[in-house]
Symmetry: C2
Subunit: 603 residues, 2 copies
């Protein structure tokens, strides 16, 4: 098929394929179903078939999955999504599809090549009998008859707040009340899963308020919507941190979440017999035990500071802190500041320090990838998340699904050409950076920022101006490893001495299973293994190949323990699948997990 | 033209008319322009031509208006709105249109009959050079270059809060921070008009929180959206009062309004020379004077209680209060409660008292119109404000415009058939009510609830169950006028004695110009005259005919004094036109008001 086929023929090709596929599945003929795929095929399933987040690669993997799952999934009703016309271009036909299973309703995306399926995405949207109360199904809010037993909305809310976690146990406890935790909390509330979100800070949004004052989101507004409630169209493209903080605080209230501020979890243990966690928490100074069936760690993929241990740190006389604890530049005017690191936080902090009249040196220890913000928006995100995308009918939900439809194994092929365009557009900028001695890269295979993010969660800066300060020397650049701290300086391995009143360790974050070590035990942390990364065998993402991000939003080796997080896009989209997994368990539905990941790395 | 015309002919007819109309206007030929209208024509203008809210009735009124306004309005560019196909049915062709003027851009709606214009709606959308920063024009939120003079969003907000009203004077002061005041405040902020909203209560939303506990909005969610930020699709159809209160509180924060809680205006005077108000306020106990150029009273069309003066009220030994001060039924279990009145508040309060085990009597003093909530939703609002309307592509903005396109003079013709349908659907219900002795009506001309609302703002109940309590005798019904209060009873003119531990005066509200009397002077209140009502010469809406609601959202006889309010739909829609009027004055644009209303009634 080519782009020149008339649209009814394109649609007919899709219908033919769906029909053959549906027939093979109904007949339980997994070999016939697999034969409908290309040799180099991918089937990505988000919870619909596998009760897992899983990409099957190749026909054999697909038929093996079907052999195991078909009997209970019972998929049927495969059809083109109403109102979405399949389109063909470059020999690939793309279509949006709907289907259902015994347990629920789903939709997905299909790419056909020569009449066979190259990529298939299947996602679960809702569980039958547990649909969300939205749109036509929304609550009435008032009972249209006199009723002496009537309680008001406020009374109901107050009763719930006084009982949940005290006399009634929640089904889920989410530790961490940032955007990930409250987005998931909103979904669980919609699904009527009793949930408590705990956070050690005093107000929702304090996770952002407490950061350095110049911080703004690096992703644009279209990428950052929360579930259910979109930012209004007067929202800035890049949210200032205090504005997004206020939004999250309002969101928590509007979504009627059971959010416990000033609450810290001190330990947690799972009782296999009882199928229940015992989570010790200190709430406003009071100790109590929560006993949820499920525990979600939403404490941040960039939440556990990775602090280096340089000799001399204990005797350094100036200020020193991890980037996450940096208070902002206010007190450092005229001071000598050394920032160790050359990724996002390092650049943001260097820029703000320079703006406030500090004498700033950045220490680059390894190569960094930089993309200018405007360029990234135009070339990297423009088609899916931009004002133009909105104008052309691209909704956030659809953009999320398009993104999800691309298998991780081949995603870099889609990314490389975009970064080649970016390089071309900003060649002069990169030339200046390199002339200044900055070590710049485009990722191991030239696939750029987003692949770095998915593989290692580090190694890049989205430039909003600070790169120019390095290029033009306003921020001094030192390259090399740190040997030690003197009482008043950072000393590099080559002997360079960088006098310092302040040292900022912009040295990144540890894997999220470290949270499990802290809260539960090292044993459980090792049992679930490293979080994040694809096993791409590129820098800081060791193999073997996983096909999906480790441990995120899906079952782990520790029963009833889940990890949730990522950027706003991921938190928004994957919170749906995590919420459905939790709801299914609460509702007592069978949830046999296909292909539970093995553990290859501990951190 | 009929419904059977092909769509391109329908469109051609509209284009032909627009072209002739545009030519006549460009040539300044007001007679030719007027001749393009039918004999029984209407032109409703919202600020675009008249800097007023004005309906011109008949050709002579239209040409007179054009004679005066054309020279400075300079309208042009009349065309069918892109993507909106004109439609014909029943001999009437309807079309959405765009145009511009010297000052701004507008859109509107057209109804043609036999090639002539029967109804024209023109509205101003935005002022050139003062467009809102939304969508493609939204703020960036971050500056993409290092800048030592950078201030953060939070610093800017804090600076504004510390200066506005203290060292910097706002251009507008809005008194009253309910949904009307904050909706207007949001629009003014978008238009960069420095504004302070003051309210005597402690938190935005307290206007709702302080009402009786069973209160829910009687209008459905699709009717109730605020500007810019829509309710999410999990929002209940009828908002419970505390939930809408929380929403308004979040809204105030999200829209970055300068909202002064715990602030009461004690007096205001206009200095003609200085073109400035002196508004005395007490803020958190501190006295200060605000000096805005414009003063908006948004204190509620149902804000000033109308309390009767019955003999014996001073010696009645039980509780007595106006419905607006009713605390809810909690303390009246087993008590004898008499509610005087038979409209919305009376029914709501009777129902809640009965549900809480009180012995309740309603005193009906005059005929009331009742419509069941579900019926009103289905038949009265369904086409414009419902889940079905949303599904069929009817946006809130469009629904507002459709509603605005119907001239008040003939609106009852559109309403009467709807209420006939409602009567038919619920005949059994009305039979039961009447059998119980309840005096029911459908408005003077059978046009039902919404016309009663527009004409007199009273005289009806949207039934959510309490009418059945009256029909079946659970709530006792007494009819007649109140003669006096005894120490322990309400005594009617016919001698009936209704023993009472509680008397609730559900006796309605006074005209909004009473606020001006309280705050400014009786002289100014009389100068501007009665607010609300159309002059329809029906019960409680004395003539002469006004064509628009008196004094609402438009210039009054008192320079720089404005009234804003109405239900959520009106507050949302008309806040745009009021905001544009205020912005134009702030920007120093000429704003000659055509056809300023005369005053015929003082209250």
């Amino acid at each position: 098929m080519t782009a020149t086929l008339p649209s009814h023929e394109v649609a007919a090709g899709v219908t033919t394929w769906l029909s053959a596929f549906g027939d093979a599945l109904s007949a339980g003929d997994t070999a016939a179903a697999a034969a409908l795929f290309t040799e180099d095929c991918f089937w990505r399933d988000l919870v619909a078939f596998t009760w897992n987040i899983k990409t099957l690669e190749g026909r054999a993997a697909i038929s093996a999955m079907l052999d195991e799952t078909l009997p209970w999934v019972q998929p049927r009703g495969w059809k083109i999504t109403h109102g979405e016309e399949p389109a063909g271009a470059g020999g690939v036909v793309e279509a949006w599809i709907d289907f259902e299973t015994a347990a629920g309703r789903g939709h997905g995306h299909l790419r056909l090549r020569d009449g066979r399926c190259w990529t298939l995405l299947t996602t679960l949207d809702e569980l039958k009998g547990h649909e969300e109360r939205r749109g036509p199904n929304r609550p009435k809010g008032v009972e249209r008859r006199a009723n002496p037993a009537r309680t008001t909305w406020l009374e109901d809310r107050e009763q719930e707040a006084s009982e949940l976690g005290i006399t009634e146990q929640p089904y889920v406890v989410i530790i961490g009340g940032g955007q990930a935790g409250i987005g998931l909390g909103a979904r669980l509330r919609q699904l009527r899963v009793p949930t408590i979100i705990i956070d050690k800070r005093s107000r929702p949004g304090d996770q952002w308020r407490s950061r350095y004052k110049s911080l703004c989101l690096h992703d644009p507004v279209w990428y950052d919507h929360m579930p259910y409630l979109k930012f209004p169209d007067n929202w800035p493209v890049f949210s200032p941190k205090d504005k997004i903080a206020d939004w999250l605080e309002s969101y928590t209230k509007i979504m009627e979440l059971n959010y416990w501020p000033d609450t810290e979890a001190t330990s947690a243990a799972y009782d296999e017999e009882a199928g229940q966690w015992a989570v010790q928490v200190e709430r406003d100074g009071e100790l109590l035990v929560l006993r949820p069936a499920q525990l979600v760690l939403a404490t941040g993929m960039s939440g556990r500071p990775s602090l280096p241990a340089f000799p001399g740190m204990d005797t350094f006389r100036g200020d020193q802190h991890h980037s996450s604890a940096h208070p902002g530049p206010g007190r450092y005017r005229g001071k000598r500041c050394v920032v160790i690191g050359s990724n996002n936080s390092a650049f943001d902090i260097c820029g703000a320090l320079w703006e406030n009249g500090a004498d700033v040196t950045m220490v680059q220890r390894s190569s960094t990838h930089i993309v200018r913000s405007a360029t990234l928006m135009d070339i990297g995100l423009g088609a899916l998340y931009s004002e133009e995308a909105v104008a052309s009918g691209m909704t956030t939900d659809k953009a999320d699904m398009v993104f999800a439809s691309i298998p991780y194994r081949i995603m870099h092929h889609f990314q490389i050409p975009l970064y080649e365009q970016m390089r071309e557009r900003d060649q002069e900028f990169y030339d200046r950076l390199e002339a200044a001695g900055f070590e710049h890269d485009w990722g191991d295979d030239g696939s750029g920022l987003f692949m770095k993010y998915l593989r290692r969660g580090s190694g890049y800066y989205i430039d909003v101006g600070a790169a120019d300060l390095v290029a033009n020397g306003d921020v001094a650049l030192a390259r090399g490893q740190v040997d030690r701290l003197a009482e008043d300086a950072v000393v590099l391995e080559d002997g360079t001495k960088l006098p310092a009143d302040l040292v900022v360790y912009a040295t990144g974050y540890q894997s999220m299973n470290g949270w499990a070590a802290e809260l539960i035990s090292q044993e459980v942390a090792d049992k679930v293994g490293k979080c994040w990364g694809l096993g791409s065998d590129t820098t800081k993402d060791p193999g073997p190949w996983e096909g999906e991000q480790r441990n995120m939003w899906k079952p782990t080796q520790q029963q009833a323990l889940w990890f949730h997080g990522g950027n706003l896009h991921q938190s928004r989209h994957y919170s749906l699948y995590l919420a459905l997994q939790l709801k299914a368990r609460q509702a007592g539905l069978p949830t046999p997990v296909y292909g539970l990941q093995e553990v290859h790395h501990l951190r």
